[in-house]
């Protein structure tokens, strides 16, 4: 039980992720077959419905998963980067005015300021420490780019399949990158992420959640910045 209590946040979201993914696959499978039936009826043909297992390995399912993944990782990538350089007065998500930038080595416990319990790359110093200093951003950025590429590479055959259903011309992968389908799927996710993350930073100026580190302490003034509850 101590394991669960001490890792509750990671476990909670891990379980939620798996449940939501299973739910998405079940609903997506049903929707896929509904579309197949509708298209077949229009064409006066026999519907080509697929099994659940086939849907899981279809480009349509992977595309739908990846288009959300890329936008989530982009959101955190930009949030990590923007909070280094931008300030939002009154927000617990922001550093205090005057603290913009990557900060000095003493504050970051780098170089001669490394401590006995500092991570090994910090103890090593040099390029290794520099790389480790940006490791979170690099991972988030790498996952974002990989997921965006995965969205394009799975969206492409899915798009061509729909084109073929309606007797329309298919496109190359580069051609797909210029289609409204690719950019509609990309930007509809980006806009919601940007609004949500901006809302989080700004709403927390005046609103509170007692006990959450994402909020200021309930009694904190609205003007206090970078104070977490």
């Amino acid at each position: 039980m101590r394991f669960v209590r001490r890792n509750g946040l990671g476990l909670f979201f891990g379980v939620l992720f798996l449940l939501a993914l299973v739910g998405q696959s079940v609903a997506g499978h049903a929707e896929y077959n509904n579309q197949e039936v509708a298209v077949a009826n229009l064409a006066g043909e026999r519907p080509n419905e697929i099994s659940y297992a086939n849907y899981l390995t279809s480009p349509e399912f992977s595309r739908d998963v990846m288009e959300n993944w890329q936008s989530e990782y982009l959101q955190f990538l930009l949030y990590i980067l923007a909070t280094v350089w931008f300030i939002q007065r009154g927000s617990p998500e922001s550093k205090r005015p005057g603290e913009e930038g990557t900060e000095d080595e003493e504050r970051q416990r780098l170089g001669t300021h490394a401590e006995a319990d500092s991570p090994a790359p910090v103890q090593i110093g040099g390029m290794v420490a520099k790389l480790y200093s940006n490791s979170l951003l690099l991972l988030m950025g790498g996952v974002f780019l990989a997921a965006w590429f995965a969205q394009s590479i799975t969206g492409w055959p899915a798009y061509n399949s729909e084109q073929a259903d309606f007797g329309m011309p298919t496109v190359s992968w580069f051609g797909y990158l210029g289609t409204s389908d690719f950019w509609d799927r990309t930007l509809q996710n980006w806009q919601s992420e940007f609004l949500a993350v901006g809302s989080m930073a700004v709403f927390a100026i005046y609103l509170r959640q007692r006990g959450s580190p994402e909020s200021k302490p309930v009694g904190s003034s609205h003007e206090s910045t970078g104070v977490e509850g």
């Binding site: 394991f3 001490r6 890792n7 990671g10 891990g14 992720f17 390995t57 279809s58 480009p59 399912f61 992977s62 595309r63 998963v65 990846m66 993944w69 170089g111 001669t112 490394a114 006995a116 319990d117 991570p119 090994a120 790359p121 103890q123 090593i124 110093g125 040099g126 290794v128 480790y132 490791s135 996952v143 990989a146 997921a147 590429f149 995965a150 969205q151 394009s152 590479i153 799975t154 969206g155 492409w156 055959p157 899915a158 992968w173």
Partner: protein
């Protein structure tokens, strides 16, 4: 401050000395959580990319 530590993935997650507020940190559990999430993300990406190439 440079020291000759071997540069491995494990060295990035080297256990830190005990601190008063958490006298027996379970480093193994933290590593399992970290690599568990990393595995899920990488598996999902590879699965999707392979699916895309196979379907293309």
């Amino acid at each position: 401050m440079a020291r000759n530590y071997p540069i491995t993935i494990g060295s990035f997650l080297r256990p830190t000395p005990r601190c008063p507020s958490d006298p027996r940190p379970n480093v193994l559990v933290m590593r399992v959580m970290f690599f568990g999430y990393l595995f899920v993300v990488i598996f999902g990406l590879v699965f999707a990319i392979v699916t895309g190439f196979v379907s293309a």
